[in-house]
């Protein structure tokens, strides 16, 4: 089991090494190396997955570790921890990664840096799988940074474009802010418990080594990492710009896996979240879900709509973690990975077609702009049908995967609000349900504008054609994975996954905090949970259909004049269109503030610090010239005087040495006489 996991993990690393050094010289620029590595990883994950299904044990776990640092009392072990949770995650990562690799063969064909693209994809797969497998927070942190650097490299893949290079930097720097919190959280945990290992941390928290405010702080600090990586408010600004990267990258990294790493981390550390920390997590997630959805309504770049949709859906998952619905949140991660990767690959297929049409007609406009599309369903049937499936899934329509997981989250949120005495907590289901309407609305807005209606640009429309098989087949696979049946087996209930393998195998991790006294503990009774789920399901189906109906009213039947409505609510529209001016706000405060602060520091450096250095040099020089004179005049004079005196004395005394032995004898006698006389007297 461990060996299998190691192969799954290390094969992409091997592919990366081969690709980065030899890729250019290999036939087909070596794409088959990366694709087959991840393909084997995928097959091995499938073996693990089938074993998990045949085992059917919710508490299954395997660990193996080796000592990594061992200095006296200071010990860190590195190891692998496999449970059902990790296996499902492995399955998700390898599936999406494999499909994206295959898709990229078509999408990236003819790119000058083709081999490097595949090398980065392999490196990313390796890092992401490591992040899933490590049994300790430190290893997770290392892999966390590695996926960050892969994200940076792939966003800035078209680095000759300024906007892409800047987007890469923005993503990396924004992530650093979150990662700083993560690092602080690690230090708090290590200081209090003395180990990074998750099970040791669990024991430590359960024994009360880390408690009270510090426990809450540690939870929130670790969550900061997730805020950055999962693009939650207020660090969400990097994800829309990350769409500068190639579309397969957006699908793999910025929709399905890396951004979900934040959710995965929160799920892994959920046992140590105190009630206060959970509230922070829930509110940040809930707010982000609604906030990002409202921005997505007005965007015209197809990938940006999907990016805000991703932020919004990640907000859902984070909110689920915060209200204690861990398995629901993780379930949404799984289903979302499939349909959102599909949406991105579908949009990539559209953009690919647009790009080629523009090249043929020599038009230089943004191929991502949905205002230039329309009526594509006849030209690109495979892309259209799969895109529609993904859209239905994300909107939460029964018979599709998104419905199951979104309903579980909304039900969990509602149950949380119902179990709390404070009515303020009804804000959370409010966020969730409102975001559900808006999600259905903006997703169908994109579908209608892209695939329905009359072509906006007949000149381009003529040259639109379906993408090659290598791109449409991954779309079909992902589309079939967005059908409910893969998640509800062995039962065939389209509206509930409760009897499905997922709900049976993934258990909510036990909280270590509840073992400590004096904490408000989150307990939701069966009855509340049941009624919340039934109500939540009704409301969410109703809301999703409302959203879809609104979208058709606005954009298909054109019953409502969108332009006029936009004019009427101009301020709101402007706010949403400009993403609530967050980029401008950060530019004005953080960037400008940092620049001003740096200028101040530079001034301080060149005036005060340099002044001190120069001043001390000046003083030293003068002092040295004085001491030099003193040295030459006084000290040397003294030394010379001693020498001269010795010489003079020697000169006069040497005369005594006559060489006449008789004089010496006389001297000795005189001395003897003197001694005798002295003694006698």
């Amino acid at each position: 089991m461990i060996t299998l996991a190691l192969y799954i993990w290390l094969l992409p690393l091997l592919a990366f090494t081969i690709q980065i050094f030899l890729g250019k010289r290999l036939p087909r620029k070596g794409d088959w190396v990366s694709v087959s590595a991840i393909g084997i990883s995928f097959a091995l994950s499938l073996i693990l997955f089938i074993r998990m299904l045949s085992n059917y044990s919710p508490d299954f776990q395997v660990t193996a570790s080796v000592p990594w640092i061992n200095i006296g009392q200071f010990k860190i072990d590195m190891g692998i921890y496999i449970d059902n949770f990790a296996i499902v995650m492995l399955m998700v990562v390898t599936t999406v990664s494999f499909l994206v690799h295959v898709y990229s063969i078509g999408y990236m064909a003819g790119d000058p840096l083709y081999n490097r693209f595949f090398a980065y994809l392999s490196l990313f797969s390796f890092s992401m799988l490591g992040l899933v497998l490590f049994d300790n927070l430190f290893g997770i942190f290392v892999m966390w940074e590695l996926v960050g650097i892969c994200s940076y490299l792939l966003i800035g893949y078209y680095f000759e474009k300024d906007s892409a290079a800047n987007a890469g930097k923005k993503a990396f720097i924004t992530n650093r802010i979150g990662d700083f919190g993560f690092l602080l959280g690690l230090l708090v945990v290590f200081t209090a418990i003395g180990s990074f290992n998750l099970s040791d941390v669990y024991q430590g928290v359960a024994q009360g080594k880390l408690s009270g405010g510090l426990l809450t702080a540690a939870g929130i600090l670790l969550f900061c990492g997730a805020i950055g990586k999962s693009a939650q408010f207020p660090l969400h600004v990097w994800l829309p710009d990350a769409m500068e990267g190639p579309t397969p990258v957006s699908a793999l990294i910025h929709a399905a896996t890396m951004v979900a790493a934040g959710v995965y981390l929160v799920a892994r550390i959920s046992f140590m979240l105190s009630f206060d920390a959970m509230l922070v997590v829930a509110y940040i997630g809930g707010f982000t879900a609604l906030f990002a959805a409202t921005i997505a309504i007005t965007q015209n770049d197809i990938k940006r709509v999907l990016a805000y949709s991703t932020i919004s859906q990640l907000g859902y998952m984070i909110m689920a973690m915060g209200v204690g619905a861990y398995s629901a949140g993780f379930f949404h991660l799984v289903t979302h990975a499939m349909f959102k990767a599909g949406l991105f690959l579908g949009s990539g297929s559209v953009i690919h077609a647009m790009h080629h049409a523009m090249e043929k007609t020599n038009v230089h406009e943004d191929p991502n702009d949905i205002r230039l599309m329309g009526g594509f369903k006849n030209k690109m049937p495979a892309t259209y049908i799969t895109f529609l499936v993904f859209t239905l899934a994300i909107s939460g329509i029964p018979f599709f995967s998104g419905f199951l997981s979104k309903d579980a989250i909304l039900g969990g949120t509602l149950a949380f609000a119902m179990s709390q005495s404070n009515p303020v907590h009804y804000l959370l289901p409010f966020f969730g349900f409102t975001a559900a309407i808006i999600t259905a609305f903006y997703m169908f807005r994109v579908v209608i504008k892209t695939f329905y209606g009359e072509p906006k640009r007949p000149d381009l429309y003529e040259h639109i054609h379906e993408s090659p098989k290598v791109m449409t087949v991954p779309l079909m696979v992902l589309a079939s994975l967005s059908i409910f049946i893969f998640y509800t087996l062995p039962s065939f209930n389209p509206i509930s996954a409760e009897q499905g393998w997922y709900e049976q195998l993934i258990e909510k991790p036990a909280s270590a905090v509840s073992a400590q006294l004096g904490y408000p503990v989150l307990e939701i009774s069966e009855q509340i949970e049941h009624s919340a789920h039934v109500n939540g399901m009704m409301i969410s189906i109703l809301f999703a259909l409302t959203g879809i109906a609104l979208a058709f009213l606005f954009y298909f039947w054109k019953k409502v004049d969108v332009e006029a409505l936009t004019e009427k609510i101009k301020p709101l529209y402007t706010l949403s269109y400009h993403k609530y001016f967050f980029d401008e706000l950060y530019n004005a405060t953080v960037v400008k503030g940092l620049l001003a602060w740096n200028n101040l520091l530079a001034w301080f450096d060149s005036n005060v610090i340099d002044g001190i250095v120069n001043g001390s040099a000046f003083i030293m020089r003068h002092f040295s010239s004085f001491t030099g004179k003193f040295d030459l005049g006084f000290i040397d004079g003294l030394v010379n005087a001693v020498g001269d005196l010795t010489q003079d004395v020697g000169q006069s005394v040497r005369k005594i040495q006559t060489g006449q032995v008789q004089y010496y004898i006389l001297g000795a006698l005189a001395g003897l006489v003197l001694i005798i006389v002295t003694v006698l007297i």
Binding site: R654, T658, G659, Q660, V661, Q662, I665, L669
Partner: protein
């Protein structure tokens, strides 16, 4: 003659004469003779002290040693003087001032 004083007086006179000879003679052989005088004055003293102070015969034994020593010393010294004479063709010690400053 039951007093030690006359012996000591004689010894002192011989000693002074010896020293005087050593210091004033220019001839190296004369200085050697002065040395013999000094040694013999010491012998007189030894014998005198042996008779009047010490009860044993230590003084006499040492005297015999000194006489043998003197003979040996005279032989070596004469050999040195002969060599000096061969080299410098003189035995005048005022001429032998190689160790002068």
């Amino acid at each position: 003659m039951n007093s030690i004083i006359p012996y000591l007086i004689v010894g002192a006179i011989v000693f002074v004469l010896g020293i005087f000879t050593i210091v004033y003679k220019k001839n190296a052989v004369g200085i050697l003779m002065g040395v013999e005088l000094v040694l013999n004055s010491v012998n007189i003293n030894f014998i005198a002290f042996a008779k009047f102070v010490d009860t044993g015969i230590h003084g006499q034994i040492i005297s015999i040693f000194v006489i043998i020593l003197a003979a040996a010393e005279a032989a070596i010294a004469l050999a040195i003087i002969l060599n000096i004479y061969r080299m410098k063709a003189t035995v005048d010690v005022t001429q032998l001032n190689k160790m002068k400053h």
